[in-house]
């Protein structure tokens, strides 16, 4: 997998897992791959994946069953969708609007292009 430079790897992996949960790869209530399996899949240090999993469990997207590994939380899809929507309005949209203003693009033009 290709990582970007500007963001911590553990966060990029957490986001990847979010995408995978949203895409239905890890259904709610089911077991995720082990930390080691996931580390081998994305080719990073095991400790980095530990941090990603811990970050996701703090957000209630996954949870740890002692001695059994991590599971996708019930309602995880909704949680992920909510936080991605939030990120869209807080990060993606302002950047988009900024570009529009810089280039003098009107809302009408965008609407037209989207059709």
């Amino acid at each position: 997998m290709q990582f970007k430079d500007h963001k911590p790897i553990f966060l990029q992996i957490a986001e990847l897992i979010c995408d995978e949960i949203l895409g239905g790869k890890y259904p709610e209530g089911e077991r995720l791959p082990s930390v080691r399996e996931y580390a081998a899949e994305v080719e990073v240090n095991v400790n980095t994946v530990v941090r990603s999993f811990e970050w996701l469990s703090q957000k209630d997207i996954i949870y740890n069953k002692r001695g059994m590994g991590y599971y996708t939380s019930l309602g995880a899809k909704e949680t992920v969708r909510e936080s991605l929507r939030e990120a869209f309005f807080q990060e993606t949209l302002p950047e988009f609007v900024g570009q529009m203003q810089k280039l003098g693009i009107t809302v009408e033009e965008v609407e037209q292009a989207m059709k």
Binding site: F3, K4, D5, H6, K7, P8, I9, F10, Q12, R36, A39, A40, E41, E43, V44, N45, V46, N47, T48, R51
Partner: protein, 233 residues
């Protein structure tokens, strides 16, 4: 723990590669040993194995002098040199020959690693390409399951896909008790695997610290160039 204390070593009489050099590998984990060409990375690995002897100072593995090459130490160590030849025998014969020296040798791990590299088990070592040879040897080495694994430029000669397979094999072969030391100048090939980075240059350890991400990804190449530049100025 591998401890290098005040070591001086040179291949020629009045030219030292290492001069009063000290470095410890304390905790287990994956270490990246970085440095420009000719800074003594390979020399350090050979000193740790007891294949070279320091002219001054000492190298110890778990407190035992490395130059003694004691069996109980060597059964927990494996060195993968940058270049090597394998004998023209089958993999089975080869494994049978080296297995008795490594009490924790794991046939399962061997199979898993070979599968990672998309190699079978029914192989004659005499007819392999350089890339295949590296894959098979790397699998045997990981299967030997030693607590210390020293690798000198392990990704040299591997194509992009094989490099990715190599990283997976390392992660599969790693556990909490192992110390893997990878010397390399191909920083990108291994940077995401590392727990710890050591940068050496002209007899000095410029940097020796755990790699822990804060709010930015660590760009090891940048870190390397900055660290080396700072020292040259």
């Amino acid at each position: 723990m591998i401890s290098i204390q005040n070591v001086t070593f040179g291949y020629r009489k009045h030219e030292t590669v290492l001069n009063d050099f000290s470095l410890d590998f304390g905790q287990s984990g994956i270490y990246g040993l970085l440095g420009k060409n000719g800074t003594g990375k390979s020399t350090l690995l050979y000193l740790m194995m007891g294949l070279l002897r320091p002219q001054k100072g000492s190298v110890t593995v778990d407190g035992i002098d490395a130059t003694l090459r004691r069996p109980e130490v060597l059964q927990e160590m494996f060195l993968v040199p940058e270049e090597y030849d394998l004998p023209a025998i089958s993999l089975h014969q080869y494994v049978r020959a080296i297995k008795p020296f490594y009490p924790r040798f794991s046939e399962n791990l061997l199979k898993q690693c070979l599968a990672n590299f998309e190699m079978g088990t029914d192989i004659n070592l005499g007819v392999l390409s350089m890339g295949q040879k590296k894959k098979v040897y790397m699998s045997v080495v990981l299967a030997a399951n030693t607590r210390y694994l020293l690798m000198d430029e392990p990704t040299n000669g591997l194509d992009i896909l094989s490099k990715s397979q190599f990283r997976k094999a390392i992660i599969d072969g790693m556990n909490d008790e192992k110390t893997i030391i990878v010397s390399t100048h191909q920083v990108h090939d291994v940077e995401l695997l590392l727990d710890h980075v050591c940068i050496i240059e002209r007899n000095k350890v410029l940097l020796n610290e755990p790699l822990i991400e804060k709010d930015q990804a660590i760009n090891l190449e940048e870190l390397f160039i900055k660290t080396v530049e700072k020292c040259t100025i």
